[in-house]
């Protein structure tokens, strides 16, 4: 690069820097306002993201719950344990005397011993 080009560059930079230093007060003030407007925009954006985060977490939890209830977990309800549950409930609700269970306690103990053996 020639000496003239280097001079042009350095002088241009010098003149530009001087002009930046001499920007008038009202313009500086408007630039400051513009900067605050930009920072407010950044805060608004962060707030929007932050505000939606709990909502997203709740939605994800709800989706997970629905998936567990109606998805692969649905097979649990057809398992013997879940199938026996209504029968047990019925036994408790028919109002029959449960003392009968105590009368044949020895028989049940014997039956349990035999079935496990």
């Amino acid at each position: 690069m020639s000496r003239n080009s280097r001079y042009l560059e350095s002088r241009a930079r010098e003149l530009f820097d001087e002009s930046v230093e001499h920007i008038d007060g009202p313009t500086r003030s408007r630039l400051t306002q513009a900067r605050y407007a930009a920072l407010a925009e950044l805060d608004r954006r962060r707030f929007r993201v932050g505000a939606w985060l709990p909502v997203g977490a709740l939605a994800a939890a709800a989706v997970l719950a629905v998936a567990l209830w109606s998805g692969p977990g649905a097979g649990l309800r057809s398992s013997p344990v879940f199938a026996a549950a209504p029968a047990d409930l019925e036994l408790l609700t028919v109002g029959e005397d449960l003392d009968m269970l105590g009368e044949d306690a020895e028989f049940y103990a014997w039956a349990a011993g035999n079935s496990s053996g």
Binding site: Y7, R11, E41, R45
Partner: protein, 204 residues
């Protein structure tokens, strides 16, 4: 506009009102952005002012660029802000100039609406003439006016390359990002800008 992906840092949720790392980094991010904008706003204004030759328009363009940077790239690493900011600013200037050209063409068709004076305006001719060659011109009391007029007369891409490289001090790689072109193109535009400026200042 480059398709720079939008990275948004998700703030952590504070437990029991405790200040979390996310909130701290959010505050630091705000402070970093404020420092950055405070450092570039006046230079950006001068660059826009040289291009559009109007204070209010230049201020609007700078404000839009600041808001765009905060909204779209505020979460990006701070070292990326400068080229991104100048890219947004240059796009803003280019859009403004395009709109102004269209407006002046429409006005030229309007009866009595325009004489084409704005299009034919030559800032070099309009600048005061202290006489002498480029060196004398740049040392004169009107040196800044002469320089601004010379820059305003350059084709847009050449002006961008010169301003970013010389006035803003960006390196070739960052200038390429800011201009949205290859480093080779930056070098070409820059070389032509210097030659054109020297030629125009010397022609007077």
């Amino acid at each position: 506009m480059a398709s720079v992906s939008l990275g948004i840092a998700l703030p952590a949720i504070g437990a029991f009102g405790r200040e979390t790392d996310g909130e701290t980094s959010g505050l630091e991010q705000s402070k970093a952005l404020e420092r950055f904008l405070a450092g570039v706003e006046r230079r950006a204004f001068r660059i826009a002012r040289i291009a559009v030759r109007n204070d209010d328009d230049a201020l609007d363009i700078v404000q839009d660029a600041m808001i765009h940077l905060a909204r779209s790239y505020g979460a990006r690493p701070t070292e990326e802000w400068k080229p991104l900011f100048y890219r947004i600013l240059n796009n803003g200037i280019r859009d403004f100039m395009r709109r102004r050209r269209v407006r002046s063409r429409i006005m030229a068709w309007w009866p009595g609406g325009g004489s084409g004076a704005a299009e034919n305006f030559d800032p070099i001719e309009a600048a005061p003439d202290p006489g002498g060659g480029p060196r004398e011109l740049l040392e004169s009391a009107e040196a800044l006016q002469v320089l601004e007029a010379g820059l305003a007369a350059l084709p847009g891409r050449q002006r961008e390359a010169f301003m970013l490289r010389v006035l803003e001090g960006l390196d070739v790689a960052d200038t390429a990002i800011a201009m949205g072109c290859s480093e080779g193109s930056v070098k070409t535009h820059y070389f032509r800008a210097v030659q054109a400026l020297k030629g125009r200042l010397g022609e007077r």
